[in-house]
């Protein structure tokens, strides 16, 4: 397989959590806070939390859904919030709008429940990201495979999940490189179909390695 002129630069990412001076005790307050929270806070409670809880492969989606279920016992709203798939979003503004829409519908339909106090408040936090290039890159698919095996969970998450917002595309760093630099659009599509909600980072990585292996054999 030929080497590409545009190597894939593996990066490591570390995330610092900053506590915001903002909290919600009811669903109505959550709705108000969703409008005021920073983009970094919406990112933290949706994208980032998936990385922190990647080992949960059944029913965990985002912090909002988890809080509505565990602290307010509102399974219907929790299910609707959990159904938000971050892979559908390339901007926080769109994601925020959809979250607000779902919560606002609930508040309109069930005003009493919207004012019910939670067992525990929802504390807004935000993510600060620090990245560093790793001391290896990939010019071929075989080199990519070797690099993939050396990635930490945070690095894999950075390239495979958080990348959508950075690229502003409905894809991930790996697929983007397969398609743009290696000219392998089918591999790109198959890689992007790996479901991060029902996989852990380790099983998602294994699936990706299998796809790459098959491509190398072909």
């Amino acid at each position: 397989m030929n080497a590409t002129a545009q190597p894939f630069q593996f990066v490591t990412a570390a995330y610092l959590t900053r506590i915001e001076n903002q909290r919600a005790m009811t669903i109505a307050e959550l709705l108000a806070s969703l409008g005021q929270a920073s983009d970094a806070a919406i990112f933290y409670h949706t994208f980032q939390t998936l990385g922190q809880h990647h080992f949960l492969t059944e029913g965990f989606s985002n912090d909002f859904a988890q809080w509505v279920l565990a602290s307010l016992n509102q399974p219907t709203l929790a299910e609707r919030l959990a159904n938000i798939d971050i892979r559908d979003y390339v901007s926080i503004a769109e994601l925020r709008a959809d979250l607000r829409h779902i919560v606002a519908e609930f508040c309109d339909s069930y005003p009493k429940q919207a004012d019910q106090s939670a067992f525990e408040p929802f504390y807004f936090c935000q993510t600060l990201e620090v990245t560093r290039p790793l001391p290896w890159d990939a010019k071929t698919l075989a080199g990519f495979r070797a690099g993939l095996e050396r990635l930490s969970h945070a690095s894999f998450y950075y390239h495979f999940v958080a990348s959508r917002l950075r690229l502003q595309l409905r894809t991930n760093d790996f697929s983007h490189w397969f398609e743009q630099s290696l000219g392998l659009p089918e591999l790109a599509t198959r890689a992007d179909r790996i479901d991060i909600y029902i996989n852990t980072i380790d099983t998602a990585r294994r699936e990706l390695i299998e796809l790459v292996d098959r491509e190398i054999i072909q």
Binding site: L16, I19, H53, L56, H153
Partner: protein
């Protein structure tokens, strides 16, 4: 003379079998730009207490990564420690009765200790309230970042003490809290660093099955029967009587034994009273084991946790509650109260089960005993949760990230 405390020499390579080489390599990559960077850490005790335990193990790892991490310990007389103990309780919510001279003594010890410590590092991390006033003499000309690391729960502080400390805290470049719930409204950035456990410490490391069985048998516990365990000091806020009531409900449905293991009764009059109450309530039940263990015996606590079928943490109020992370690391199914930092560790129905009452606790235990496959899955997911979020290597990574962020 400033004390230079002992640290525990454990290499990062020792963590590779537990975490994988990639996670350790990532730490080395992140630390690259911080090579030679001086970090001064200050706390009030070299031995005993959670902060000393953390620093003892954290600093050698930071040094291995190339940081020049230094540990300074305050020195104080009995009057200082009496006042800071009272401050500690007041910050946790007890109502204190302070004289103006108490605040003066506090400041006097801060100034005297500060004068003896050359805190000229790029980063200065001050742990807890005891040395918080060191910030008064921060050299403004020097490029430094001063961080206040608060290990205690500030959610309901006694106003006089918090009003005294807040102006000092507000002068730092940032503050670190163990949970969003423990933080205060402050004009400085506040960061979230979860408390952490060390998987290689005696309290958490892997143990031989034979040793676990020996410990259980030595205490008279039958390793072949179901064991429910709560490890906590004998304190009303840990609700040992509530645990006993929950056990009695469970016992109607399942044959089981209850272990209540903890220390803190011998040197604490309230602890002794609680221990006596628990013993009386347990009566002659041969399946209830009330064990007063010294904190110097972490291996026995480790063995009791590992030998348990279900671990309980039925606190009425809690700090972060790291005994939960200890149990989860050992892949134990946990039933715990939804208070303090516990819901961060026990994600309901994912990494354990939460309860809000004695009856709820009993129900969740019964559920786990009836569904061992679910109990096993919760334990395994709990282990992964701890690996990802509550280990000492994660704590180190958070410090590196904070320093890199500040150094931009």
């Amino acid at each position: 003379m400033i004390a230079t405390p002992e640290t525990v020499p454990i290499s990062l390579d020792h963590y590779v079998p537990l975490l994988g080489a990639a996670e350790i390599e990532e730490l080395r990559t992140l630390a690259g730009p911080l090579e030679g960077c001086v970090v001064d850490m200050v706390n009030s005790t070299a031995v005993g207490g959670g902060v000393a335990e953390i620093l003892m193990r954290l600093l050698p790892l930071a040094r291995e990564l190339g940081l020049d991490a230094r540990w300074h310990v305050m020195e104080g007389g009995p009057e200082f420690y009496e006042i800071t103990k009272a401050f500690h309780n007041a910050l946790h919510g007890s109502v204190g009765n302070f004289r103006p001279s108490d605040f003066e003594i506090f400041l006097d010890y801060n100034r005297r200790n500060r004068a003896r410590m050359p805190l000229d590092g790029r980063f200065v991390v001050i742990h807890d309230p005891q040395p918080a006033a060191f910030i008064e003499t921060r050299p403004l000309a020097k490029k430094q970042t001063w961080i206040w690391r608060c290990h205690i729960d500030l959610s309901r502080p006694d106003p006089p003490v918090w009003n005294f400390l807040k102006p000092f805290v507000s002068r730092y470049d940032g503050a670190i809290f163990s949970s969003p719930e423990f933080s205060r409204q402050l004009p400085i950035p506040q960061y979230l660093f979860y408390p952490s456990i060390d998987p290689l410490s005696d309290k958490n490391r892997e143990l031989d099955a034979d040793y676990i069985e020996d410990v259980l048998v030595r205490f008279g516990i039958d390793p072949r029967r179901t064991i429910l365990t709560q490890v906590s000091r004998f304190d009303r806020l840990k609700d040992p009587l509530g645990v006993l009531r929950a056990y009695r409900i469970v016992k109607r449905y399942f044959d089981c034994q209850l272990v209540l293991a903890g220390g803190g009764a011998s040197d604490d009059p309230e602890g002794s009273a609680v221990l006596a109450e628990v013993r009386e309530a347990a009566g002659n039940d041969p399946d209830v084991f009330i064990l007063e263990l010294p904190p110097s015996d972490p291996l026995e606590v480790n063995a009791l946790q590992r030998g348990s079928t279900v671990v309980i943490q039925k606190s009425l109020r809690e700090g972060f509650g790291l005994t939960v992370a200890e149990a989860l690391w050992k892949k134990k199914p946990v039933v715990a109260s939804a208070v303090g930092g516990i819901p961060t560790q026990v994600i309901h129905k994912h990494t354990g089960l939460l309860a809000h009452s004695v009856e709820g606790t009993a129900y969740q235990i019964r559920f786990l005993l009836a569904h061992p496959d679910i109990a096993q899955r919760l334990g395994e997911q709990g282990h992964e949760h701890v690996r990802e979020n509550f280990l000492i290597t994660g704590n180190l990574k958070r410090y590196l990230t904070l320093f890199l962020h500040e150094d931009r």
